[in-house]
């Protein structure tokens, strides 16, 4: 998180990290030392990446209800970080806190990325746009808010909306609007993009395309943070997984690293073990998918 931290993570045993990362900057980490297992996995996963976003002791409480407490995570540039967990564990709140849309009760969020006019992009959980605009006009409008040149047609093609470029937002399906919101989130190539359930409401192939597109952005150096309930997509595309449970980070690491650590067949197994240990013991994993996003 800060340059003062001299912890040098040399563990490179994580076999899951297949992304080509050429950045050899030492990972500076202040994650809660009590979670040493998670910390090791985290460190090994991100050994070659510099954190563009870090949280320290992040806590959010609403009146007497604690959403999460003491969350320490580093978000690496050039990687997709997936935040998963049961409903109500604060995934959306965490994203909004990272974005600065919600004030944390305690703790801090540090942005360590380049000084640009749009440091973070955002895809809300239920995105919508002015219905009077066409898809292309919508992207053109958001592009007019950044200094860098934006190729609207290329962005629409990236999310498979080329054929709908001149269609009004009112005439787009819910899934198409979400795709449009994905395009909006990366307008201006922000160093960090936060996507709240980007595959929600999309058919399987389109959901895969969205995750693939975001993973491609991560490969290009963007720090992509997604919340998701679609564990199969997370397992396929995410470089790093943060499991939120019981008001904090229950486990963190690369998908394969987590599977190894929990001796699990897949991410669903890990999820079930971490979130519902009794359920995991009692029944086999139904599938790699927890049932779609909600």
């Amino acid at each position: 998180m800060s340059d003062a931290n001299t912890t040098d993570h040399t563990d490179t045993t994580d076999a899951t990290d297949t992304t080509d990362h050429t950045d050899t900057t030492d990972h500076t980490d202040t994650t809660d030392a009590t979670d040493t297992t998670a910390e090791t996995a985290h460190a090994s996963s991100d050994a070659a990446r510099s954190p563009v976003l870090s949280t320290a002791g992040l806590t959010k409480t609403y009146e007497n209800h604690s959403v999460f407490e003491g969350v320490d995570i580093d978000i690496a540039a050039g990687a997709m970080t997936a935040v998963i967990g049961p409903n109500g564990t604060g995934k959306t709140t965490l994203l909004k806190t990272l974005l600065g849309h919600i004030e944390p009760t305690a703790g801090s969020v540090s942005y360590n990325g380049p000084d640009v006019d749009r440091p973070m992009g955002y895809l809300p959980q239920e995105p919508a746009f002015r219905p009077q605009f066409t898809a292309a006009e919508t992207i053109d409008f958001y592009a007019s808010l950044v200094d860098s040149a934006v190729d609207t047609d290329a962005l629409l093609a990236e999310v498979n909306l080329s054929d709908a470029r001149d269609r009004r937002v009112a005439a787009l399906s819910g899934g198409m609007r979400r795709l449009l919101a994905v395009a909006q989130a990366v307008v201006g190539d922000p160093p960090v993009v936060c996507c709240d359930e980007p595959a929600s409401g999309l058919d399987p192939s389109m959901a895969q395309r969205v995750f693939g597109s975001l993973a491609g952005r991560a490969d290009d150096g963007m720090a992509v943070i997604v919340t998701s309930h679609t564990l199969s997509l997370v397992e396929t595309y995410a470089d790093h997984v943060v499991i939120l449970h019981d008001g904090g980070v229950a486990a963190t690491g690369s998908p394969v690293g987590l599977c190894e650590r929990f001796d699990a067949a897949d991410l669903w197994d890990v999820y079930a073990t971490v979130v519902e240990p009794t359920a995991a013991d009692a029944s086999p994993a139904p599938s790699a998918d927890s049932g779609g996003e909600s």
């Binding site: 974005l99 849309h101 006019d117 992009g121 955002y122 002015r130 605009f133 958001y142 950044v146």
Partner: protein, 273 residues
């Protein structure tokens, strides 16, 4: 990107939205039709501009708030509900820039609807009224298109003030659905409540003749009426002036506008966390 360039982009978005909103065209037609009907029905058109102003003053005190509510109540709550404000926040759009652009955009719509309708009424008077209404510059005592132009400007100022009040009220409530209630409530409280307070003040002897002239300028409806009497109707007869202070009335409308926009920005900051 600087705030001016962002404001321009946001203003363009508002105008683009308005240009493609069919209900605004229908609202414009309805307002135009009502004002034309009142002008023709009241007989003012054949007599001159001032009689037309007198015919339209009271209806406009009702119609201008209706237009302000219709074009203003959803503007910001819709963006909040859609999550667009959260997205805009990532582009470093400040609440002040956003509110300013939304207000200006909606003010252009209000100008087109109210101003357009009054221009048509003015044209009708020009075509049908007595010959001496064609005088453009003279001492007091002669009806003139200039006076009608003043009436149009003062009416738009009144509308801009109410639009700002509507925006503030709409952000103060939770959702788009309740924004209409908040907007109507705010306009009723400001217009009716303000005048009722003045009336009670007069009855209780709190306001004397001198203070009343000033106090009337602090309530939007009274300020509007006072400005019309002082700068349009009163020009015909010196004895008809002294109803209100034009300076206080303009100042009152300005304070309501700036205060409401400031409140809107503050509420938006608060709602955005």
């Amino acid at each position: 990107m600087n705030a001016l360039a962002m404001g321009r982009a946001l203003l363009g978005r508002e105008l683009h939205t308005a240009a493609r909103t069919r209900s605004y065209y229908l609202l414009g037609l309805a307002i135009g039709g009502i004002l034309l009907g009142l002008t023709l029905g009241g007989g003012g058109a054949a007599t001159g501009y001032i009689p037309t102003v007198v015919d339209l003053l009271l209806p406009l005190e009702l119609l201008v708030p209706v237009v302000a509510i219709a074009i203003g109540y959803r503007a910001i709550p819709s963006d909040l509900d859609r999550g667009e404000l959260a997205m805009l926040d990532t582009y470093a759009v400040s609440p002040a820039t956003y509110v300013g652009a939304v207000y200006l955009g909606r003010a252009v719509v209000l100008s087109a609807i109210i101003g357009g309708a009054l221009l048509i009424v003015g044209l009708l008077v020009a075509l049908t009224a007595a010959p001496d209404t064609g005088v453009f510059a003279t001492h007091s005592g002669v009806d003139s298109p200039i006076l009608f132009g003043r009436f149009l400007v003062v009416t738009l100022l009144f509308g801009y003030t109410l639009l700002a009040v509507v925006l503030a009220a709409s952000v103060g409530v939770a959702t788009t659905r309740t924004a209409i209630v908040g907007a109507i409530g705010a306009v009723v409280v400001v217009a009716v409540g303000g005048e009722a307070a003045i009336l009670l003040g007069v009855l209780d002897g709190i306001f004397g003749e001198t203070t009343l002239t000033a106090v009337l300028g602090l309530v939007p409806n009274s300020a509007y009426r006072g400005l019309v009497f002082e700068t349009v109707v009163g020009v015909l007869s010196a004895s008809a002036s002294g109803y209100a202070s034009p300076v206080v009335s303009v100042g009152g409308l300005f304070l309501w506008t700036v205060g409401s926009l400031g409140l809107t920005v503050g509420l938006l900051r608060w709602r955005s966390g």
